[in-house]
Symmetry: C2
DNA sequence: TTGAAAGCGCTAACAG
DNA sequence: CTGTTAGCGCTTTCAA
C-alpha cells in the first residue's frame, strides 16, 4: 500500500529538479523546457513507475480529482444502479475517482456524509435519489453540487430528472396511433404519491385531449405498486361493461403491467389481440421476459447519471438556474416498442376461455 | 467546496498551539494535558465547526481512511449490489469512505483502477466479482487486498465466496425431507461453466447419496440461464414417462425456476401439489412474486460484502492462508422457505388440464 | 505540560 | 530556461 517513488526520485534520475519534473509531467511547459529534457523526464518517470501522490497534489492545488456520490438508497430499485454505473464511467473518463455513500435517506447520515466528503476535499458532490422526487438537499451540501433524479424544493442546485410527462405522452400516443380510444391508466396508490404519478397522468390526459377523447374517470384506477396491485386494478377496469371496457392499458410501471398480464389471462384476453398494454421503467428481467414482451417506456438512468457528473465537472454546460425550468433538466424517456401493443379488437375485446 | 477553518483557527481561539489541538483531538494525551484545556479545545473545535483536512492528515500518517472497491460489473446482476451496499455500510461504520470503481472486467481498466487507487493512498482494496469465480487478480493488486465473491487462482489473498455446495445441500435436503425421491437438477448451460454450477451439482449428488437415492442422469438437464431456458429444460424432464418423471425440481437459479413454473403450467401441473420447485439466488422481484412464492436459497451478498471490508480493515480476523481452505471463507447460503415445496403427489404427478 | 520545528510529496511563485 | 524557496494542513518528535 506504500507508495515509494516520488517526484524527487524522478528528478534525481533525470538530472533535473523536482520543479522541472512537475512542470513537464503536468504539461505546464509555459516556459519552454527543451524537448530533449522533457522527453528524458517522461521516460525516467515511466521507467521507474512514478505516479504522483494525489494527496500531496490535492493539498497544494485544492483539487483532488475525486467526487462524492451520495444516494438515498442503492439496492432497492435494481435498475437505478445504472445511474451509479454511468456516473462512475463519466468520472473515470474525466480522470476522477468516485466516492460512493449510501445514506438510506437518513438526514443525519446525509449530513455526516457531506461533511466527510468535504473533509476529503472532493471536487464536487452529486446527490442522488432512486426515485424522481422533490427533496430538501442535506444541510451543508456545497454550492455547485448537482441533484440526480431529484429536484430541489427551493431551487439553488442544478438537477436532472426523467421527463415523466413526455414519456407518458409517447406511451399513450403509441396507443392512440394504434387506434385505441378507450385507454385506462393503471396508476399507483402510495402516500405520498411520487411526482412521477402526477406527471404521467398529465401526459396521459394531454394525449387524450389532443386526440379529442374525453377522459373517463372510471378508467383511471390505482393499485399497490406490485404485481398483485396491477392484477387487481386491471381486473377492475376489465370487468366494466363491454362498452366501457378499455382496449388498452397504460401502466405506471412494469410490475403493474405484469399484474395486468395476469388479469388479462384471467379474463381470457389475449395480448395484444384483445388488449394492448404499455408499461414504464423498462425493468430488466420483467419487461423483456414477459409473454409477449412488453412495450414500455425506459427511464434514462444512464444518461442522467452521466449528465450529473459531467455538469459537476464542468464538462457539460450547467443549466441556467434562472431559466424556464429553474435549473432542472428533463431527460427524455424513450418508448421501447415490443409486442404488447396492437390495434384494438374489431368488436370490442372478445371473451374467450382457455 | 473550500474548507476554511483549520487547526490553527482552533489553536488561536483556544489559546494553545496547533500541536496541542492535534494531541487533544486525536486523544494522544500521552503527555497529560489538563482536563480543562482539553475541554476548552474540544469545545472550540466544536463551536467553530472544525473538521481536520483528511488530505493533510493522510499525507502525514499514510492512512487516508479510504478504501477502494473495484468490481467487474455492477448493474448486470441486480441483487449483487447488496455487496456494495454492505461494503459501504461497513466502511462507514469504521470511519472510512469507499471509492467505487467499475471495470467491466477489462484488465486494462482494472490495472488503471488499482493504480489510481494507490495514487490516492487507499488503506486497502477489495476486488469484487458479481459471480462466484476463480480469478487472476489484476496486476499490482496490493498485498492485503481481499477478494469478494471470487477466489484467487493462485492463492495469496483472503477471499470470501458463497457456500454453493452447502446451499444446494440445504435445498435438496428440504426436498428429500418432504418425501421426494425423483429430484431433477435444472443446471445452466454456459461456457465456461460458473463454479457455482459444479458446486451445486456436488451438493445435489451428496444429498441423493446420503438418502440412498441413485442419481438418474436423465434428471440432470441444462438450459440457458433465462426463463426460456428454464421452461425448455423443465419441459424435457416433465415429458419423461410417468415412472421416470421427477416430482421435484432443483433449479440453478430463480430465473430457471420461473421458466419451470411456466413449463409446469403448460403441462397442467400444480405447484406444489403436483411438482415441488426450489430455486437459487432469492432474486428480488422474482422469487417472492411468483405464484406460489418460490422456496429458494439466498446468496449471502450482504454478509460477504461486510466480511470483505471488515477483514480488510482488520476489524475481523483474516482467514489463515495456510488453512484448509487456503484463505478462502465459505459464507453460508440460507434456505428461504416459501410455498413451492410440498410432499410428492400420491400417485405420481397428475395431468389435469387448466 | 506545552510549543517550536520539521517534514509528508507536491506545486507555484520567484529568482537566477 | 531551470532551480530555489515557500508553503498546502496536519502530526510528531524534541526541547523547553
Amino acid at each position: 500500500m506504500t507508495r515509494r517513488i516520488g517526484i524527487k526520485d524522478v528528478a534525481r534520475e533525470a538530472g533535473v529538479s523536482a520543479a522541472t519534473v512537475s512542470l513537464v509531467l503536468n504539461e505546464r511547459a509555459t516556459s519552454r523546457i527543451p524537448d530533449v529534457t522533457q522527453e528524458r523526464v517522461r521516460r525516467v518517470a515511466q521507467d521507474i513507475g512514478y505516479a504522483p501522490n494525489t494527496l500531496a497534489r490535492g493539498l497544494r492545488t485544492r483539487r483532488t480529482q475525486t467526487i462524492g456520490f451520495v444516494s438515498d438508497r442503492i439496492a432497492t430499485t435494481p435498475y437505478a444502479v445504472r445511474m451509479i454505473e454511468a456516473a462512475q464511467d463519466a468520472a473515470r473518463e474525466n480522470g476522477h475517482l468516485l466516492f460512493l455513500v449510501n445514506t438510506d435517506g437518513d438526514p443525519a447520515l446525509e449530513r455526516d456524509a457531506v461533511a466527510a466528503l468535504q473533509a476529503h476535499q472532493v471536487d464536487g458532490i452529486v446527490y442522488a435519489c432512486m426515485w424522481h422526487r422533490a427533496v430538501e438537499p442535506p444541510a451543508g451540501l456545497p454550492a455547485g453540487s448537482v441533484l440526480l433524479d431529484a429536484r430541489p424544493v427551493d431551487g439553488g442546485f442544478a438537477s436532472v430528472v426523467p421527463d415523466d410527462r413526455g414519456g407518458a405522452v409517447a406511451a399513450v400516443q403509441a396507443l392512440v396511433d394504434a387506434g385505441h380510444r378507450r385507454i385506462a391508466y393503471l396508476d399507483i396508490d402510495e402516500d405520498p404519491l411520487p411526482l412521477a404519478s402526477g406527471l404521467r397522468l398529465a401526459g396521459y390526459l394531454e394525449v387524450l385531449e389532443a386526440a379529442g377523447i374525453t377522459p373517463d374517470p372510471a378508467l383511471h384506477v390505482r393499485g399497490t405498486s406490485d404485481v398483485a396491485g396491477g392484477r387487481d386494478a386491471a381486473s377492475r377496469v376489465l370487468e366494466l361493461p363491454a362498452d366501457q371496457r378499455p382496449t388498452a392499458l397504460f401502466c405506471f410501471n412494469d410490475r403493474l403491467a405484469m399484474g395486468a398480464y395476469a388479469a388479462a389471462r384471467h379474463h381470457g384476453l389475449a395480448i395484444p389481440a384483445d388488449l394492448s398494454v404499455v408499461g414504464y421503467d423498462d425493468q430488466q428481467l420483467i419487461a423483456a421476459e414477459l409473454d409477449p414482451p412488453l412495450t414500455t417506456v425506459a427511464l434514462p438512468h444512464h444518461e442522467m447519471g452521466r449528465w450529473a457528473v459531467e455538469v459537476l465537472l464542468g464538462v457539460r454546460e450547467r443549466p441556467d438556474p434562472d431559466g424556464a425550468e429553474g435549473g432542472v433538466v428533463l431527460m427524455p424517456c424513450p418508448l421501447v416498442r415490443r409486442d404488447s401493443v396492437g390495434p384494438p379488437p374489431t368488436r370490442g375485446p372478445g371473451r374467450r376461455r382457455g
